[in-house]
Assembly symmetry: C2
Homo-oligomer: 619 residues x 2
């Protein structure tokens, strides 16, 4: 080893002293980190408020907690029938390729734990940084418990960044011993995906009123159909002359044993125009279902797997009952039964907590995003095509009270090709804050999410909702519309105080789309029927989708004026001129959030940690 | 402090053991890092092969070395007249806002050193990670020496990423004591910018021939004009019947004292068509300069500040002399004299090393990128507009030998609005490697750069050269052309063995640009003269540059077929059809290089290191 002291004799005293003090400082910093780590993690290892089954049989049960000050998630994984190990991890959309994984594996003698990643072919590699840190591993009569933690953001480019919104969790079960991590054949194991919102908001439940009552809207002993996907519809009737109340909270009621099958549930209120609705109890897509049930679309409550109770803010409640509101409710349950269990009974539903002592404000729901019209279209073969819907300054100016409204929850919505959704608030031409964003949005996991921070919107503000679509598996343009194969771009925002504004959405001006068809015709020497009887859908289907026509459609949407739907109810617009409106001008966008990362302190690169699983018995 | 031991009694023995072993491992890793750090840095602190003056008066002299295994640059800064400290750092294009800085400052009593950053207003802040690490500080009769190091890439998002290509170094001198880092008013200090290629290639000089001769092409005692910018032209004549030689190396010869003023120099060979060229010794833009000097454009040698000697690969040399080559050379020197020194004399130039024993291969220079034509245009007001020039598979198929050619050096070239330039090699539709790339390209710093790795190009390969332009300060379209206010996108690649292919460049098909003008006319209801007498330049100047027209021009360039210049000399094309060629299809791009970062080990955040400057006297 070389010495540094004798290299230059000009200032040995200074350098030695500096070096020594530097290293002492480093050691101190290091020790302080250790102490903080010990202090910080201890209480986090025993309290896991959130829980989901990972697999349809509930063999793997995940619980977790989130520490925002530390920017860390603590996981507790219960393995009910431990075999020779398991994989747990995250990836962009639930793929097993390019995934970030914690792996526990046994060679038959010893067990190992390590942070790994899978490459684009699904081959596993040990991670150069160990960011999943094992904290505990012990057997109990229920099964094997693993407790580990993971920073939201690591300094390792191979790692998944845990963000707000949906996280696609993946798991796999090792049924045979393996020699090494690299020997695991990820495509041959029993495996699956579960979607959750990992970063739950850290909101304390507001105080509930003393005169609170509850009502359970539950399916009455349904025999879950033995098919993968069922949407079950059940009609409920409120008592006659049920007066106006405020819903202040609701929570899921899941029949024990069905936790892994009940995927999501919604309670809708029916339209007040109709005096009565038929009773119905059966699949929503049955031919026996009365058509009138399609008029039960006003969301009262929504729950999806992994979500907890939903609390309204202390000063607001959701009105139901009373004159001018229908006494009919529709419960819709999505049963996800991939293992095709037969004869499983279920009586799950939603428990509403409501009060007759009306709170200060009615809560409202407003629809932001795109109008359901075919003028907003996505070319085929796109990996990530963006559409934007605007709630313009002119509409918020007309429709919002001077004191503004306060958005406290949001439900994002697209159909099958939706991949990302975000709504951003702008004021005076500058983006100010994100209302809600999901970079891993899935149309199969639509929950009402409490916002981490209430967003206030004032007259003159702009709300821009952007949706990203993937149409790589389609060969025709996908247009806006109601059909499940059409697309939507919607954010249902929950806010108070309620206003008359029910819908603040946009679509490109039709005249400009016609200019586009004209342009395509002339530039490509192609024939798109410009005749008046051709529908937009037909015209779009005759566009030859080359790179130029695709790019120019993008440019059109970024440039052409819009038609605004600034509506009191879905038919009645606020007074004003809403056609050929200019696009909102945003001169300054929010900075890309580059979360600071936490380098891992763990075993050196590529060396798994030996785990003692066998010795310790249950108490 | 809380204890973790009594939280869960199920497996205390396991946990304590695990925890203890984990921390011992961490301590060991830590100690190993210390030892490695001590070993690694020692020899790097005394050898600095590269050197530039930072300021025009050479008060600050920077030397440095590069360690690729450690991914670290070691800097030695000589401050000839130390005052109350200085700033040294890097930023995207030499701005003092959003810059990454090492700061030495004195409050009049003590001196401090710290890693800092400036925000968008130029306010200084202490960095949360100390990535500039001070290694030595000592006074000598020459001045104060500071030695510090910096990783190429840090884990701090505020830090500059040191990449290949140009780095804009910034400096500032503190002439008064300051209370704190935050008290430094960056806009009020004496400051400046210097461009260098920091990451010099780590190439060992090839062996030189024994019969090597030298020739100095130098300006004869020029009085440097007392103005900021002068391009000086001087004609040199080779001896009569000077036979064919190979240049194997060249290096700058700078008159002592003018190191900070001689900005760059080039030696051009004149065209062989003319029997004689007038002698000339004067400014290149003088009205007295004979027009014929414009025919001296074939680069023989080029040097820019900070560059070292240029070596040809062992198996190749640049031919000059002999029949078929002009005996006239033109030396061009760019004097950069911002302090407007008067009466400064200079005899700088370039020393050529050449041999009569011809090497195995002639080296050649090939021009890649865009044809000089106004059909390639940049709209006004663009922050980063991209233009691409192609050397297609069809051209390389026709023109390159089966064994391919080997590119060993490259000189990127644009005019005033160029901001980034890159050439990428693709094969079978997939990007394979970067030939040369500069993310901080400056038209004021064009040097021939040795490639870190020789790139071989085979028949059928594609070379795509992309240039990014900033036209935010212009209100008319900028078109391709020869004028300094027009633009170019060129990469002069130096390669061997020499082929007949002198030029492999492209431009959009003229017919498609006419369709674009047509489309703009119809879409915008505007009037662009489509009459045959209007020039492209005139038509472009009548485009109303809104977002749509701008975006559609981009889409056109990404879609329309190209006209290829696959030329033997600037007038003669290789046989074949070169009009309306399809754009090369690239289905797979190179991954974004996310360099792994090195978290700093240094003082805790926001606390500067005290530096002992005053005590130690010179030996």
């Amino acid at each position: 080893m070389q010495s540094t002291g004798n290299k230059r004799s000009s200032c040995p005293s200074f350098r030695l002293r500096e070096v020594a003090s530097m290293y002492f400082t480093m050691l101190m910093v290091f020790l302080v980190i250790l102490v903080v780590a010990l202090q910080g993690t201890a209480p986090r290892e025993n309290y896991f408020p959130y829980k989901v089954p990972l697999d349809p049989q509930s063999f793997l049960e995940l619980s977790w907690n989130v520490s925002y000050p530390e920017q860390v998630v603590h996981f507790q994984l219960l393995v009910k029938e431990p075999k020779f190990g398991l994989l747990f991890g995250m990836s962009d959309r639930g793929e097993f390729e390019n995934a970030d994984l914690a792996v526990l594996w046994s060679d038959g003698h010893s067990s190992y734990f390590g942070d790994a990643w899978s490459d684009e072919k699904g081959q596993l590699h040990m991670d150069s940084q160990q960011n999943y840190q094992l904290l505990k591993a012990h057997r109990t009569p229920e099964g094997l418990y693993l407790v580990f933690k993971r920073a939201f953001s690591t300094c390792d480019p191979k790692d998944y960044l845990i963000e707000d919104g949906t996280v696609h969790l993946i798991y796999g079960i090792l049924e045979k011993p393996v020699r090494s991590l690299q020997a695991i054949n990820i495509s041959a194991i029993h495996r699956g995906v579960q979607r959750v919102q990992l970063l739950k908001p850290n909101i304390s439940a507001p105080e509930l009123p003393r005169d609170m009552k509850t009502m359970e809207v539950r399916a009455p002993d349904v025999v879950i159909p033995s098919q993968e996907t069922t949407y079950w519809c059940y009609m409920v009737e409120l008592p006659d002359s049920f007066p106006r109340h405020h819903i202040v909270m609701y929570e899921p009621v899941i029949t024990a044993g069905n936790e892994a099958i009940v995927h999501h549930m919604e309670v809708f209120q029916c339209a007040a125009e109709f005096d009565s609705f038929p009773h119905y109890n059966g699949p929503c897509d049955s031919k026996m279902k009365p058509d009138r049930l399609n008029y039960c679309r006003h969301v009262l409550a929504a729950w999806a797997m992994g979500a907890q109770a939903f609390y309204y803010p202390e000063e607001a409640g959701l009105a139901f009952g009373g004159p001018g509101s229908s006494k009919y409710l529709r419960l819709e349950i999505h049963y996800h039964n991939p293992l095709v269990f037969k004869g499983r009974h279920d009586s799950s539903g939603i428990r509403l907590y409501y009060t007759a002592t009306l709170r200060r404000y009615d809560a409202g729901i407003m629809e932001l995003g795109l109008v359901y019209t075919p003028v907003m279209a996505i070319p085929p073969g796109e990996a990530g095509f963006l559409l934007k819907g605007y709630c313009t300054d002119k509409c918020t100016q007309v429709a919002l009270p001077p004191a503004g409204i306060h958005i406290f929850a949001s439900q994002l919505h697209t159909h099958l090709t939706g991949r990302k959704v975000a709504t951003i608030l702008s004021r005076e031409g500058r983006e100010r804050e994100v209302v809600n964003a999901d970079n891993h949005y899935s149309p199969h996991f639509q929950e009402i999410r409490m916002l981490k921070k209430v967003v206030s919107v004032f007259p003159g503000d702009v709300l821009t909702t952007t949706c990203m679509y993937n149409t790589e598996d389609r060969n025709q343009a996908t247009v806006g519309g109601f059909s499940i194969t059409d697309e939507m771009c919607v954010n249902y925002v929950h806010y108070y105080p309620q206003t008359q504004l029910e819908l603040c959405k946009s679509a490109v001006d039709l005249g400009y789309l016609q200019r586009y068809f004209n342009l395509v015709n002339r530039f490509n020497d192609e024939e798109i029927c410009m005749c008046p009887q051709a529908s937009i859908r037909q015209q779009l289907s005759s566009v030859p989708w080359n790179a130029f026509n695709r790019d120019v459609l993008k440019s059109l949407y970024d440039f052409a004026p819009i038609s605004m739907h600034c509506n009191k109810s879905s038919a009645v617009r606020f007074p004003g001129e809403w056609e050929k409106q200019p696009l909102p001008r945003i001169t300054r966008v929010l900075p890309e959030s580059a979360p600071s990362c936490q380098p891992a302190v763990g075993p050196p690169p590529a060396s798994p940690a030996l785990v003692n699983l066998g010795r310790v018995k249950a108490e």
